[in-house]
C-alpha cells in the first residue's frame, strides 16, 4: 500500500444535466479510509448528484480516484465491487424477502457467485443482526414499513463490503433509535477501513457521528472540515437561511433553530 494514495480523491468535479450545470468545480481534500463524511446542504444543493456521479450513474467531469485508481476507468463490475450505493428511495412493491435480496446481491458479484450458500448466509445473518433486521429477514420487502425498507436498502449497499460506501439520506424515514443504530453501524463500517459518505439533513446527527462534514450550496462547496468548526450559526444563516443558536458540546453540537433568517431571503 505504500506509495499509493489511499482514499477517495475528488478534484475539479463538474456535473451537468443537459445544459444545466448542477455541480461546479468541486474539489475536496482527500477522504481517508476510516472516516465518516457527512454531506450536508439544503434541498437541491447537489448532494444526490454528487453521490450519483461517485456511483457512476451520471458521467461527471473532473478527477475521481479511489485508492489511486480512476473510478471512470474501472469496469462497471470492478467499480460496483468497490463502491456501495444506497439511493434516496427504493421501489415499494418488490416481491423478494430481505434474505433473498442480499443473497441475490452477493450472487451477482463474481467473487461470491459460486461461494457455498451457508457461507453467504452467515455473512447475511451477521449484517442483519447488526442492523436489527433479523426478525424481518424472511418478510417480503413489499410488506415492510418505509423505515424498515430503508434499513434493508442499507443492508443491500453494505453486503458486498465495499471500500467506499455512499448513503443518500439513510436516516430520513427512521425513528430516533434506528437513526442512532444506523449511524453507529456506519461508524463501525468506517472503522473496518471503509470510506463512508453519508447525506444527512439532521445537523446534530452529523455533528455527533461524522468525522468531517462537507457542505454543498447551490452546486458549490460551501464549507468542509470538522463538524464543530464548520457548523456555525453563520453557516446556517448563509446556506440554510435560518436563525439558530449553535453550541458546541462534549460529543457533538446543540442546535436550537429560532426561525427563518430574514436578511437572507431572496
Amino acid at each position: 500500500m505504500s506509495g499509493i494514495e489511499t482514499g477517495l480523491r475528488l478534484r475539479g468535479l463538474s456535473l451537468r444535466y443537459g445544459a444545466r450545470e448542477v455541480l461546479h468545480d468541486i474539489t475536496l481534500p482527500c477522504l481517508r479510509p476510516g472516516r465518516v463524511i457527512a454531506l450536508l446542504g439544503p434541498n437541491g444543493a447537489g448532494k444526490s448528484s454528487l453521490l450519483r456521479s461517485l456511483a457512476g450513474l451520471v458521467p461527471a467531469q473532473g478527477e475521481l480516484q479511489l485508492d489511486g485508481e480512476s473510478l471512470a476507468a474501472m469496469s462497471p463490475m470492478a467499480r460496483a465491487q468497490r463502491v456501495g450505493y444506497m439511493p434516496q428511495a427504493m421501489p415499494e412493491a418488490i416481491g423478494l424477502t430481505v434474505t433473498e435480496t442480499l443473497l441475490g446481491t452477493l450472487r451477482t458479484d463474481p467473487r461470491s457467485a459460486y461461494t457455498d450458500e451457508s457461507t453467504l448466509l452467515h455473512r447475511i445473518h451477521a449484517l442483519l443482526a447488526r442492523l436489527d433486521l433479523l426478525a424481518l429477514a424472511s418478510r417480503p420487502l413489499s410488506a415492510l414499513s418505509g423505515g424498515q425498507r430503508q434499513i434493508a436498502s442499507l443492508a443491500q449497499a453494505m453486503i458486498r463490503e465495499p471500500r467506499l460506501l455512499l448513503l443518500d439520506e439513510p436516516t430520513s424515514a427512521l425513528d430516533l433509535r434506528h437513526q442512532v443504530d444506523v449511524m453507529s453501524l456506519v461508524r463501525s463500517a468506517a472503522g473496518d477501513g471503509r470510506i463512508v459518505v453519508v447525506v444527512l439533513h439532521d445537523l446534530a446527527l452529523a455533528a455527533r457521528w461524522a468525522d468531517e462534514v462537507v457542505v454543498l450550496h447551490e452546486g458549490r462547496l460551501a464549507a468542509c472540515g470538522a463538524p464543530q468548526q464548520v457548523i456555525t450559526a453563520e453557516l446556517l444563516a448563509r446556506v440554510w437561511r435560518v436563525r439558530a443558536i449553535v453550541k458546541a458540546e462534549d460529543r457533538g453540537l446543540h442546535i436550537a433553530i429560532e426561525g427563518a433568517h430574514e436578511a437572507h431571503r431572496a
Binding site: 421501489p91 418488490i94 458479484d109
Partner: protein, 356 residues
C-alpha cells in the same frame, strides 16, 4: 424471539436458513403442483371433443401410435394431440416472454404484445394473406408464419435500437412501443380496407388466434425455440431479479443493464413472434400468466420464470378445453376464450390473497 439474547444468536442463523429452505420447498411444491395440473389439463384436453371418444380409447391410441387404420388413433395423433401440445407450448412461450417483458420494462402491465409485437405480427400476416405477397418459393403454409415472424421480431429490434440510441428509460420504451402499435394498426386497417371480402374474413379469423393450423413440424419448431431460449433466461435469473430494484440500482451493482435488456428483448421476440406466427395473436396469457406466477412464488426469478412458463401453459390448456365446450358442436378460436378463462383464475388469486 423479540428479546433475543446473545446466546440465541446461534439459533437465529438456523432460523434464517430454515426459513429460506421452507420458502424454497414451498415454491418447488407450487411448481410441481403446477406441472402436474398442466399434465392433467392436457389429458382432459385430449379427452374433450365432438367425436365422443371414451378416455380409455384415447389412452390406448396414445400408446399405440402405429395403428394407422384405427380412426381413433388418427384423430388423436393428427388433431387432438398437436392441438393440445400447441396450446401448451404457445401458452408457455407467451407467458415466459411476458414475465421477462414485465421485468425489463419495470411495468406489471406489460405483455409480449405491449410494444407492438402483435400489431407488427398482424401487419406481416396481413401482407401475406391480403396481398398474397411474400418470399418467393415458400409454401403458403409457411409463408404466413414466416412473414409474421419477421415483422414481429423486427418490431422488437426496432425498439432496442431506439432504447439504445437514446439511453432510453423503460418509460421511453413503452411510449415508443405504443406509438408502434398505432402505426402498425393503421397500416393493418389500410390493408383491410383494400382487401377482398374473402381475404378479409380469413384475416379476421386469423387475428382471433386459432390452434387449427397446428402441425408436428410447427410444434417441433416452437418447442425448439423454447428449449433454445430457456437456458439463457435461467442463466440471467439473478440479474433479472436485481432489476426489480430499478435500473439505476442494478447498474450500481455492476449489472450491464443495456446488455441484459437486449438479450431479454431478443428472447421475447423469438418466443412471441414464433407463437404468434403459428396461432395468431392471443392476448392475455402473456399478461396474466406472469401475474399468477408472481402471486404464487414471488419475484425471485429462479422460481418466477419457470412458474410463469407453467401458468401460461396451464391457462392455454384450460382455454383450449373451454374453446371446445362453450358452444357445443363448435370449436371457438382460442384467442376469444383465453380472457374468459384467465380472468376468473386471476380474480380468484387476487381475492383469496389477504391471509398470506
Amino acid at each position: 424471539m423479540a428479546e433475543a439474547s446473545p446466546q440465541a444468536q446461534g439459533a437465529d442463523i438456523a432460523e434464517l436458513i430454515g426459513d429460506l429452505r421452507r420458502a424454497r420447498l414451498r415454491r418447488l411444491r407450487v411448481i410441481a403442483v403446477l406441472a402436474i395440473t398442466l399434465v392433467l389439463a392436457m389429458l382432459a384436453d385430449l379427452a374433450t371433443g365432438s367425436a365422443g371418444i371414451a378416455p380409455p380409447d384415447i389412452l390406448r391410441a396414445l400408446l399405440m401410435q402405429d395403428a394407422v387404420s384405427n380412426p381413433v388413433a388418427a384423430i388423436v395423433w393428427q388433431l387432438r394431440l398437436p392441438f393440445a401440445l400447441m396450446a401448451v407450448l404457445v401458452g408457455m412461450a407467451l407467458s415466459l416472454a411476458g414475465a421477462e417483458m414485465q421485468t425489463i420494462l419495470d411495468n406489471p402491465l406489460a405483455s409480449p404484445f405491449t410494444l407492438g409485437v402483435s400489431s407488427a405480427a398482424s401487419l406481416g400476416a396481413g401482407l401475406a394473406m391480403l396481398l398474397g405477397t411474400g418470399i418467393p418459393g415458400l409454401p403458403m403454409d409457411w409463408l404466413l408464419p414466416i412473414n409474421t415472424f419477421v415483422f414481429a421480431a423486427g418490431s422488437v429490434l426496432l425498439l432496442q435500437l431506439v432504447g439504445n440510441a437514446r439511453q432510453g428509460s423503460p418509460q421511453t420504451l413503452v411510449l415508443f412501443g405504443i406509438a408502434l402499435v398505432f402505426t402498425f394498426n393503421a397500416l393493418v386497417a389500410l390493408l383491410q380496407y383494400l382487401a377482398s371480402a374473402d381475404a378479409l374474413q380469413q384475416f379476421v379469423f386469423w387475428s382471433m388466434g386459432s390452434l387449427n393450423r397446428s402441425s408436428w413440424p410447427k410444434l417441433a419448431t416452437l418447442a425448439a425455440v423454447i428449449a433454445l431460449v430457456l437456458p439463457f433466461s435461467l442463466r440471467a435469473t439473478w440479474r433479472l431479479t436485481l432489476l426489480r430494484f430499478g435500473h439505476e440500482r442494478a447498474r450500481t451493482l455492476g449489472i450491464d443493464v443495456n446488455r441484459l435488456r437486449l438479450a431479454a428483448l431478443l428472447r421475447i421476440s423469438l418466443l412471441a413472434a414464433t407463437a404468434v406466427a403459428f396461432v395468431g395473436t392471443i392476448g392475455f396469457v402473456g399478461l396474466v400468466g406472469p401475474h399468477i406466477a408472481r402471486l404464487l412464488v414471488g419475484e425471485d426469478h429462479r422460481y418466477f420464470l419457470p412458474a410463469s412458463l407453467l401458468t401460461g401453459g396451464l391457462l392455454m390448456s384450460l382455454a383450449a378445453i373451454a374453446a371446445k365446450l362453450v358452444v357445443p358442436g363448435t370449436v371457438l378460436p382460442i384467442g376469444i376464450v383465453t380472457a374468459l378463462v384467465g380472468v376468473p383464475a386471476f380474480l380468484w388469486l387476487i381475492l383469496r390473497r389477504p391471509q398470506a
